[in-house]
Amino acid sequence: MIDERTGEVSAETRARYEAVIGIECHVELKTVSKMFCGCPNAFGSPPNTNVCPVCLALPGALPVPNAKAIEQIVRAGLAFGSTIPEHAKFDRKNYFYPDMPKNYQISQYDMPLTVGGIVRYWLEDGTRGECRLTRIHLEEDTGKSTHASADGRLAGATSSLVDFNRAGVPLMECVGEPDLRSAEEAVAFLESLARTFRELGVSDVKMEEGSLRCDANVSVRLRGAAEYGTKAEIKNMNSFRSARRAIESEIARQIAVLEGGGRVIQETRGWDEAAGVTHSQRSKEEAHDYRYFPDPDLVPLDSPPAAADAVRATLIETPYERYIRYVDGFGIASKQATQLVDDAALSQWFDRVAAASGQPLAAMHFVLGDLSRLANETGIAISGGKVTPEALAELVELTQNNAINSSAAKKVLEVLWIEGGSAKAIVEREGLAQVSDRAAVAALVAEVLDANPKVVADYRAGKTNVLGFLTGAVMKASRGKANPALTQELLREKLEQK
């Protein structure tokens, strides 16, 4: 049902539909030079200063592919289990656009560098999923256009301004299969891609600088239907958050169209971040007649299996694999595991503490708790600070063996943060070792009870919540060193004796 007043579809109706989503994203590779020439691959230079005859498409200029970019694509594909075909080539994709100097883009059509593969991801609640990749191919970026109206917006602009610094920057296009069923899954897929590319060092994946741009093909169908519905392609999603909102809005729009007796039109729609809706971008039919053909300026690329094997041998644990190791192996909750995985330097540092202490859970609590707090307060990364993984492992062991209590551990950590050194040495120097000696704690308990006859009477009259106050008093008398569990045990024993 559609609410006549708001035009919104009820949750019940919504639940009868299933969304089918496929993501395509473009990621700028992190190289020193551009894809087909020796100009800098740099963001933020003055306009039209990183250009040469090749990337400006001056007559007679010839492209030569960047070996590093090719290796990075192969590396990215292998991380997702893609096949590396033995033969690949570059094709020309022909269309006219002011930010494309050659009037064609060098891309890959039917023989890409990688084919297939699977992207594994997890949702915020820890649910896991996977989405097949169709391919990852290599192409070149276009220039960047801005609009020349007084306020920089398109409306009212009489002309557009083009900067070709970005033209020819190596770009990988990742095409996913339509395996995703919600906006949440689509974002989780994108996050998994981004984490992996960052970890592999093939891209900085900065959405705000445009180094990751994504489009989503979205359709809806009644649950249980075998056929896909008609899809719309959503463009102009500039952050993970806007991708999520755009896809959710488009799903709702399509359901409302179908429920209203209409049909979804296959078209390109642009996301309007401010209005929170997608708008049709009636593009002309022939805009999609790209007339691909092999680029005669570029010779084919052969990749013998041994070459792919050599790259495969250098692959390290992917962020997804690390997440699984933390959750399934260490018993860390999904949220905390994600926090660790999202900071590669921190998670490597954490792995050393976990290995040295053999107590990954306790180590995680220190790393994400007090240590992260100190890092935030001082603006120094944990992995770049004075606390060594070995020192923290020592501290973990001291707390696990009850050699010190948690408030002492906090103090030790604060000293370690400023001075570095060994946790054991600090415990000794500062006299923070936990007092677990029965007689010693019993003496302190007796002292506190003698000094607080009224509180003792309250307890015996049934006000047992004063136990906290008394425990605190004993801890204070011990200068924070008494074993809190033993203190409570002895307090109860004494209070209930008489």
Partner: protein
């Protein structure tokens, strides 16, 4: 029997893709010429290629690549880069307004 090449060409579509504004007279001239070109290429299909591997290139070389390094000597000066631009503004190439629906 080959399909007549002229039946396969939508000359107006091809012209539109190439951003060419052809008059009716020009269409009458160029359509048969393009058809003749295709018929000429069609002759190649008469060759027996059963034992010839498919290729996208006629030169024998493979994997011509360059190391990922800067070549500052090839950079154009800002003035040289913009020298042939019909219009510039603030260091940019200035072009006719890009329409909203084209983005």
């Amino acid at each position: 029997m080959l399909v007549m090449a002229s039946d396969r060409i939508d000359i107006r579509h091809v012209a539109r893709l190439a951003r060419l504004a052809l008059s009716d007279a020009e269409i009458a001239t160029f359509a048969p010429q393009l058809a003749n070109l295709l018929s000429f290429v069609d002759e190649l299909t008469e060759l027996d290629t059963a034992n010839v591997a498919a290729t996208a290139q006629v030169v024998p070389s493979r994997n011509v690549e360059r190391a990922d390094a800067l070549r500052p000597e090839t950079l154009l000066s800002h003035d040289a880069a913009l020298a042939n631009a019909p219009q510039t503004q603030g260091g940019y190439f200035r072009v006719p307004r890009i329409l909203a629906e084209d983005i």
